[in-house]
Amino acid sequence: MRIQTPLARVRHLGSAKEGSDHWWWQRLTALLLVPLSLWFVASIWWLVIGGATYEAFQDWLSGPVAAILMLLFIGMMFYHLKLGLQVVIEDYVHTKAVKWTFLVMINLGCLIGAIAAIYSTVAVALGG
């Protein structure tokens, strides 16, 4: 005879218990990316289309506001990208080996991209 309740038996079985985490972070990063990407586009237009000199670019990125916003944008954007691409693969790729290859590539790609972008931002901001 089982004294265990049905609830105790299903605990630690079933879902991976990470689904709400993915959902929550996708929304949180999305919300933060709304103002950050508006700032980002305006900055890129000023730098690229406006043809800012390297000195002007470095001067701008050395300021705390631009550097912090750029680092925030990079972090939020690459995390949002990882979460989004992951769902696309999980929805359409059903062969286990191919799926896992894609997922590992997405995770590593976004991590490497974020590290490269963060390093470069800091290097430009601090390099005199």
Binding site: R27, V34, V41, A42, V48, I49, L85, V88, G113, A116
Partner: protein, 131 residues
């Protein structure tokens, strides 16, 4: 489990496209395409970290005709994804689920995405002429 060619649901080939489904598909497509923009951001920052002579390469590429075409595509896809993303955030808190509201927000979102892209390029034009 052996992989079989089972029919997938929804059966897209017999489905009449609706505004709702088309906008949803484009949300994904723009998101995936924006990944290439993220790669460009990395290249741009890396060349900047490498020094002024390499930064010039990025500047040259981005202001070439191909660069401008890509910037136009990236900016539109970003504003589309941003506007439809806001639509999704409203749904997430339970607002705008009725069929009428869904279609209205869909039309509004498309108009807003074009409006924001136009506004941003207006700003770009301003920077182009003022330096």
């Amino acid at each position: 489990m052996a992989l079989r060619d089972r029919p997938l649901s929804p059966h897209l080939q017999v489905y009449r496209p609706q505004l709702t489904s088309v906008l949803s598909i484009f949300h994904r497509l723009t998101g995936v395409f924006l990944a290439t923009g993220a790669a460009m951001l990395c290249c741009w920052l890396l060349t900047a970290a490498a020094g002024p002579e390499y930064y010039e390469w990025s500047q040259w590429f981005l202001t070439s005709w191909l660069g401008y075409a890509l910037l136009a595509a990236w900016s539109y896809c970003l504003f589309y994804h941003l506007c439809n993303g806001i639509r999704h955030l409203f749904w997430d808190v339970g607002i705008g689920f009725s069929l009428k509201a869904t279609y209205a927000s869909g039309v509004l979102m498309v108009l807003a995405s074009f409006g924001l892209t136009g506004l941003s390029w207006g700003l770009g034009l301003y920077f182009y002429f003022t330096g």
